[in-house]
């Protein structure tokens, strides 16, 4: 059934004729150690060569496979380079307007609280036009998972300044470099969101080496588990690159990223309420508001009334 539907889809997206494992002839002694994840459809993506979106799409799919949740997951695609990802992921998908993914994801999750909902967003989408939706979904503690690809530039529209473009970074719309006196400073999303009580897990990762990719996958899995366990909102920020619009080779882009982006956007866990010893965001929030009687859970409040 999947193959038949994909053929009908071929007008939109080029389809890889069959799953890779079926067309590889193994010689004696050879074995397949890695195949395309089931949750990633056998289609050709629209990403530029060397773009980390391909890695991240795959990691998300691998996590859906490993947690065996493709069938109960609904993904929300953004506007940006990954806009077409609704054609790449095998789970049910909804395409949102620019920046609105957290609101759309909220609507889906409220209808299906027992399902898994993720939104996959870029920096212009999440941190600029969709900042209100981002902050409020986070502070509401929506049980959703956000995958945030931060490559410090608007990729799809051709390399304009993003909310996360670095000071003095040259882009199409900051041709003399981002002047912090007129264009202000970049937004650090993990730091910002970690101040909010609704956030259960926030971690910043990158995917510039096999080691960091494995680490990113671990973080991603943790974020999904956090949602499944009902702990709260989770976000994984991926410090990424844009070889095409940065005008660099993929290797050079990773070098530039390590040299300039990582000092500004340090990797690591920014919030983990479970590691802090709380069952969920509600316990953590109550503790944080310890001196405020009205903010305590009703059970703890009963005595005082």
């Amino acid at each position: 059934m999947i193959e038949k539907d994909l053929t009908a889809r071929a007008e939109n997206v080029p389809v890889i004729p069959a799953r890779s494992e079926e067309i590889i002839e193994l010689a004696e002694g050879e074995k397949i150690v890695k195949t395309r994840p089931h949750a990633l459809l056998p289609v050709v993506t629209n990403y530029c060569p060397g773009c980390p979106h391909g890695i991240m799409n795959r990691l998300v799919a691998e996590v859906l496979d490993e947690l065996d949740i493709e069938g109960k997951t609904i993904g929300v695609a953004p506007v940006g380079c990954s806009v077409m990802s609704y054609d790449f992921f095998g789970c049910d998908m909804v395409e949102a307007a620019h920046g609105r993914s957290p609101a759309v994801a909220t609507g889906i999750k409220r209808v299906h609280p027992d399902k898994v909902v993720f939104a996959y967003q870029g920096d212009g989408d999440l941190a600029s036009i969709g900042m209100a939706e981002t902050v409020h979904a986070a502070t509401r503690g929506e049980k959703i998972t956000i995958i945030f690809i931060n490559n410090a530039i608007y990729g799809m529209t051709g390399g304009q300044m993003a909310p996360t473009s670095l000071p003095n970074q040259v882009t199409q719309t900051s041709p003399y470099g981002r002047d912090v006196h007129t264009a202000g400073f970049p937004v650090r999303i993990c730091e910002l969101l970690s101040t909010l009580d609704g956030v259960a897990y926030a971690e910043r990762v990158c995917v510039d080496s096999p080691k960091s990719i494995r680490n990113a996958k671990r973080a991603l899995k943790k974020a999904f588990e956090c949602q499944i366990e009902g702990i709260g909102y989770s976000i994984i920020e991926v410090v990424s690159t844009c070889p095409t619009n940065w005008g660099m080779t993929p290797q050079k882009a990773f070098e530039w990223m390590r040299e300039n982006m990582l000092p500004y956007y340090p990797l690591g866990v920014y919030r983990d309420v479970k590691a802090d010893g709380f069952q969920d965001i509600y316990g953590a929030a109550a503790k944080r508001a310890e001196g405020c009687p009205i903010a305590q859970p009703p059970a703890a409040n009963e005595g005082s009334k």
């Binding site: 939109n12 069938g71 994801a105 909220t106 209808v111 409020h136």
Partner: protein, 370 residues
């Protein structure tokens, strides 16, 4: 008194009727004069196992509706004029993704922040272009609290049937006023027809569903839009709704919807007492515009008068429908002013005098004793 007849505000009747129509997901944002609707939902929905969510903005609210509608639920949002403008983006995406939902606009005066008093100045926005792109949406315009309750059912049914956003266009007067109302029988959401297109998780049972309005191949988008407009033709042919009052022999036909129709109705009654053959066509759907009902007046009508609470918007649709058969005039008040029956009557009398119709000494059937 019918035991199930209660006194209710229009805003509350819309909310209660939505609940009874199986809507369990409401996403709103405070704005006068629709606030009672959201407040009612916030009180009732949690007790019905539903979700009331006060969004961070109108923009977020409509996108939550988009998500909930894609997920297969009957979902609704409500606002008033300035807030509806903000929802325009989301409505366009919902139309483009062929998703059903209901949007309520309890209109107030505009443009800009305008006033908070009743108005009908969002007619064009509702019937022409709430958002960008090639699309329409059915628009219901109730004129009593009872009709507000009833049309919520129609709105959800039409939305589900044609997979389209549907708007209920009310105004501050209808939203705030109380009238007796008998609530329709409740529907259990579990008994509503299944939505096989919903993005609710495929469970390994089917290929993935996608809710989307993006088509990068031009021919594909054209195909999609043409298909949607074929559906619009069916809607135009089958979903027009209107009511006529004293139109059988009407020479002066008033056309008015919602709150202004109530005033036009009073003016027609008085005009008849004065011997003027006036009648009223009251569109209940503004899109599709009830051209078929209007056509039934062509034989007798010598003039049309569109009565609106704006600077003249629906009058365009009346002119298109009448298509030069008779002059089409306009009377309206704007800014939040409700026209009076006396003002409308004066217009009817002026037209009657100009056309030499009824009400003058020779044909006077009048009267004061009537």
């Amino acid at each position: 008194m019918a035991t199930n007849k209660v006194l209710m505000k229009g805003n509350e009747a819309l909310a209660e009727a939505a609940l009874r129509a199986g809507c369990r997901f409401f996403f709103g944002y405070p704005i006068t004069p629709q606030t009672e609707l959201a407040a009612y939902m916030s009180k009732r929905l949690p007790k019905e196992g539903g979700t009331y969510l006060q969004a961070e903005s109108e923009v977020a609210a409509i996108n939550m509706v988009y998500g909930a509608a894609a997920a297969g639920a009957r979902a609704m949002t409500s606002s008033s004029s300035p807030g509806i403008s903000l929802k325009g983006e989301g409505v366009s995406y919902i139309a483009g993704a062929d998703l059903p939902c209901v949007i309520i606009n309890v209109q107030r005066g505009g443009p800009g922040l305008g006033s908070i008093q009743p108005s009908q100045s969002d007619y064009w926005q509702a019937t022409r272009a709430l958002g960008h792109g090639d699309f329409f949406m059915p628009v219901f315009a109730p004129s009593t609290v009872q009709e507000m309750a009833n049309c919520v059912y129609d709105a959800f049914n039409v939305a589900d049937k044609y997979r389209t956003p549907v708007m209920i266009l009310a105004d501050g007067m209808l939203g705030q006023m109380m009238e007796p109302v008998v609530m329709p029988e409740p529907i259990d959401p579990a008994t509503l027809p299944e939505k096989p297109w919903a993005t609710c998780g495929h469970g390994g049972e089917r290929f993935h569903n996608v809710a989307n309005s993006l088509y990068l191949v031009a021919s594909k988008l054209e195909e999609k839009n043409v298909e949607r407009f074929k559906r619009y033709e069916i809607i135009k042919a089958t979903e027009q709704r209107a009511e006529t009052f004293l139109c059988e022999d009407a020479e002066i036909v008033l056309v008015a919807f919602g709150a202004s129709a109530r005033i036009a109705h009073s003016a027609v009654v008085t005009a008849r007492e004065k011997g003027i053959r006036a009648g009223l066509v009251r569109p209940i759907t503004l899109w599709p515009f009830p051209v078929d009902t209007l056509a039934t007046t062509f034989d007798t009508a010598r003039a049309y008068l569109s009565v609106e609470m704006n600077m003249g918007q629906m009058v365009d649709d009346v002119r298109l429908a009448v298509n030069g058969r008779a002059p089409v005039e306009f009377f309206g008040r704007t800014g939040g002013i409700i026209p009076t029956p006396a003002e409308v009557l004066a217009q009817i009398e002026r037209i009657a005098a100009e056309k030499g119709l009824g009400g003058c000494c020779c044909t006077c059937k009048n009267s004061d004793e009537a």
